[in-house]
């Protein structure tokens, strides 16, 4: 009986674990950004360097979201022809930041630094995919440990737990 109970409980837990690990625990509706932003347009068509906007990637743990002022440096000379461009302008005029929905996240117990990965010669696309071909940026498939380790293994990087767990 006890064994059966443990088995059942384990099954429930596994189910929840699986949901969580694939990211499906977050409802897709949460991924709706306040205004539609196209990486395909900015990084693809316009060919803007990733680090022009995500400017902290080479010097910090985080790549950073661009400040509104940075967006505005280009957008002040672009006509607000689409509803999304007008939306952006409204945010700017009202001195309001855009609350982007966070798509890429790592749990609290993981240490990750953009800076050192770029220094090791990785490109942004190695982990983030070819965003220059994505009109809508999806939630990253998953940054699971196995996925990180495969790359660490291939490249001869450290596989010690405490390299990435804090």
């Amino acid at each position: 009986m006890g064994v059966l109970l443990a088995f059942l409980a384990g099954g429930v837990a596994m189910g929840i674990g699986a949901l969580y690990s694939t990211g499906s625990a977050d409802l897709p509706v949460q991924d709706q950004q306040p205004l539609s932003f196209s990486h395909r347009l900015h990084a693809g068509t316009l060919n803007i360097n990733c680090q022009f906007c995500h400017r902290y990637a080479t010097q910090s743990l985080v790549a950073g979201v661009p400040s509104m002022a940075l967006c505005q440096t280009c957008h002040q000379s672009i006509k607000n022809t689409t509803p999304d461009l007008q939306k952006f302008q409204t945010f700017w005029n009202q001195n309001r930041p855009i609350r982007w929905v966070r798509l890429q996240r790592l749990p609290d117990h993981v240490y990750f630094t953009h800076e050192m990965h770029l220094l090791a010669g990785l490109s942004c696309t190695s982990c983030h995919g070819k965003v220059s071909r994505m009109s809508h940026t999806p939630r990253a498939p998953s940054y699971e440990m196995g996925w990180c380790l495969t790359c660490h293994q291939q490249r001869g990087a450290s596989q010690d737990c405490w390299t990435c767990h804090k």
């Binding site: 384990g10 929840i16 902290y56 910090s60 400040s67 940075l70 930041p97 982007w100 929905v101």
Partner: protein, 732 residues
């Protein structure tokens, strides 16, 4: 994945499945960009800002780690000459002052009766007008009790208070006023010497808790490390004389217990032997005046009174004379009696006899800096002077009370009747950022910023090799609707107008500071603009010369009239001496609202989160008291009850109790916790300095029914490593 395993255990433990997603509570779900990028801020990268620690009066240089606008960690400023990058427990806990959940978040006005604790939030405009109105209606009857601030803020307070014919009182319960008084009487110097412990090879300390809370504990700690192990061939020897084995004494090579209040006699005994045997390092002509001072008691009488054998006294004298660079320090319990200043003056004279004055490894006084800005640190008021203030409020010659980071209601014994000031005052304004006991009696609260949110400067000349001007700068944006006290007083000066307005022409306190700093900062060749020099000073944490010449000290010492200590309470009813000592973490109580300090185990007893009463084990046995029993300590002035703790390093006739707890207010961590041993003390003062003789009240102890809880770290440790090792053969 890991989550699966832990979830499994949680479910097996029949925990609700809703908790199966750990670690998400603090998850950031949105990415919010800065509107305008702050050039200084790189998300994920820390900035460090230099400032000055204001947790005690030592004035250590600090650097603060700031990430995304939040202060994360404080460390010592490695460039600062005082603390050389080091910091004490209390310095670290300044962050829990900044982020304290019980901070006062904006101006408040009293509702209901005074002391009832009901306040109504008001606007700054309303608060300022109310205060200025009160200043007008209480013309010439103002008093201000502030912690001993220095620099621009002291100058501003002085200017404003003088212009309204008020009284300005710098008060600090742990201000070591006796040490300052003795220093002034012996050497005619206002600033305390630099104790060159690092280069001494023999330290004889009479009670100074210099590794705990005395004057400048971090700089003493730095020097102590060098004293012991900083030189390849020499290890300093250290003897501590005091009735209770303090943390400092625990570090000594020898602890010599002494009958409380008789330290001066022991000093005399040592001096006698040095003179008799011709072992002094002072010209005999200069020695003559000291001869009488040191020989007014016979060695046998001294030995009987101090309970220190003549052999031990002789040994101390011989050790002092054979050391290369001996140093003597005095303070703490040695100065806690009616003869405190006299005892310390005797110690000063003994330092003169052994040639420690002005010597490397001895006492040195830096030449006061030649500066157009005043370099005198404000004189501290004694407890006796505060009792005079009580009288003035009762007579009505004082009526408007201002309080700034001083909590006399808590730190003074009730026998000094400070409560009457708070009852009699026509109006009470507090600038404290916390509801300390006194502030909760205020009529109007105009809360100051936390030191990490505001501009200040400090002049430091005590116990330092080179005098330093230290800067504090805001390292984080103010969390609440508080205002820097400097700005509030500048604004008040404008509103009061007249000549005061002309004396305070600046728009902000920062402007006032910068004007003074134009005079402080030297302009070397090639000349730099003031803005450049100012920026450099901010980055460094202030300004200090590389070195300064030492002052010459006259070897002529004043004669000293030594008297034996007096005590309140007759010996038959109150058989025990009582010594309330500042706690390592909580000090006189101001640390009690920081949970890190509450949970910091006292190193000697491992007690935390409360008060305990220390008894010698033999004494306790005679009284039938076991560890953990609830006991009552009673004096002629009051009584307190707490848990008994057997303390092997305590004079059998003494009861010792840590200070810091027993607050009536001061936030959730402090309120109603433990007891305040100040309740016991009567109005007995050091004769020369007027400081409260904290060891001057006698008490009795009785066991009450039942036990009482005292939290100790020991309880959790079944096998402390040290105990096991000791049983296995010992660690020296």
């Amino acid at each position: 994945m890991d989550l699966y395993r832990r979830t499994l255990f949680k479910l097996l433990g029949l925990t609700a499945a809703g908790t199966a997603l750990p670690g998400c509570e603090r998850e950031v779900h949105n990415l919010v960009p800065y509107l305008l990028p702050d050039e200084d801020i790189v998300p994920g990268v820390a900035n460090w800002y230099a400032s000055t620690c204001q947790e005690c009066e030592a004035g250590c240089g600090i650097i603060v780690r700031v990430m995304e606008g939040r202060a994360k960690k404080i460390e010592g400023n490695p460039q600062h000459p005082l603390n050389e990058g080091k910091l004490c427990a209390r310095g670290h806990a300044a962050l829990q002052g900044l982020y304290n959940p019980d901070r006062i978040q904006g101006p408040l006005k009293r509702e209901g009766r005074r002391g009832e604790g009901r306040f109504r939030p008001i606007s700054w405009e309303e608060g300022l007008s109310e205060w200025v109105e009160q200043l007008h209606s209480h013309a010439r009857t103002s008093a201000m009790i502030t912690r001993p601030v220095t620099g621009t803020l002291a100058s501003l307070f002085t200017t404003v208070i003088n212009s309204i014919s008020g009284r300005l009182i710098f008060y600090e319960s742990t201000g070591e006023r006796t040490v300052k008084k003795a220093n002034y009487l012996s050497f005619n110097r206002r600033e305390l010497p630099y104790y060159d412990l690092a280069h001494s090879d023999y330290l004889l300390s009479f009670g100074t808790p210099f590794l705990e809370h005395w004057l400048s504990p971090v700089s003493f700690g730095v020097a102590y490390g060098k004293f012991r192990q900083g030189r390849p061939m020499a290890r300093g020897r250290f003897i501590q004389v005091e009735p209770r084995l303090s943390l400092t004494a625990a570090n000594a090579d020898r602890w010599i217990p002494i009958r409380p209040g008789t330290e001066g006699l022991l000093v005399m005994g040592i001096g006698q032997i040095l003179m008799r045997e011709g072992l002094t390092r002072l010209a005999s002509s200069q020695q003559a005046s000291l001869q009488r001072t040191f020989t007014s008691f016979s060695l046998d009488d001294i030995s009987a009174a101090t309970e220190v054998s003549p052999d031990v006294i002789t040994k101390l004298a011989h050790e002092l004379s054979s050391a290369n660079a001996p140093l003597i320090m005095g303070g703490g319990p040695a100065a806690a009696h009616t003869n405190g200043t006299e005892t310390l003056m005797l110690i000063n004279a003994l330092n003169m006899l052994i040639g420690a004055i002005g010597r490397r490894g001895g006492l040195q006084w830096a030449e006061p800096p030649d500066s157009p800005v005043e370099t005198v640190q404000p004189e501290l008021s004694s407890e006796q002077m505060l009792t005079a203030l009580v009288q003035e409020f009762e007579e009505g010659s004082r009526s408007l009370l201002h309080l700034y980071l001083a909590d006399p209601l808590f730190t003074l014994p009730p026998s000094l009747k400070f409560e009457r000031v708070l009852k009699q005052a026509g109006f009470i304004v507090s600038f404290s950022p916390f509801f300390d006991d006194s502030t909760s009696m205020a009529d109007l609260i105009l809360p100051d910023h936390h030191p990490l949110e505001s501009w200040k400067d400090h002049f430091q000349a005590d116990t330092i090799a080179v005098p330093s001007w230290n800067l504090s700068q805001p390292v984080v944006r103010p969390l609440y609707d508080t205002r820097a006290i400097g700005d509030v007083w500048v604004e008040a000066a404008h509103r009061l107008g007249g000549s005061l307005g002309e004396q305070v022409p600046w728009n902000t306190f920062q402007d006032m500071m910068k004007t003074r700093w134009e005079a402080v900062l030297p302009n070397h060749h090639p000349p730099l603009s003031f803005e450049t020099r100012w920026r450099n000073a901010l980055q460094q944490g202030g300004w200090w010369p590389v070195d300064v010449p030492r002052q010459q000290i006259s070897p002529d010492m004043p004669s000293i009239t030594y008297e034996l200590p007096e005590f309140l309470g007759n010996i038959s009813d109150f058989p025990f001496y009582c010594y309330p000592y500042p706690s390592l973490g909580l000090s006189d109580g101001r640390g009690a609202n920081r949970p890190w300090l509450q949970e910091l185990p006292d190193p000697l007893t491992t007690g935390m989160w409360g008060t305990w009463i220390e008894l010698n084990p033999t004494t306790a046995k005679a009284l039938g008291i076991n560890p953990g029993d609830q006991v009552r300590v009673t004096s002629e002035y009051g009584s307190i009850e707490a848990s008994a703790l057997l303390f092997p390093g305590l004079h059998p006739d003494m009861i010792a109790i840590p200070l810091g707890q027993g607050h009536r207010a001061y936030g959730r961590y402090a309120r109603g916790r433990g007891v305040n041993p100040m309740m016991l003390l009567g109005p007995k003062f050091d004769r020369q300095s007027g400081s409260l003789a904290t060891g001057g009240t006698r008490v009795r102890v009785e066991r009450l029914k039942g036990g009482s809880k005292l939290v100790m770290l020991d309880q959790s440790k079944q096998h402390p490593v040290l105990q096991r090792m000791q049983e296995m053969g010992g660690v020296s």
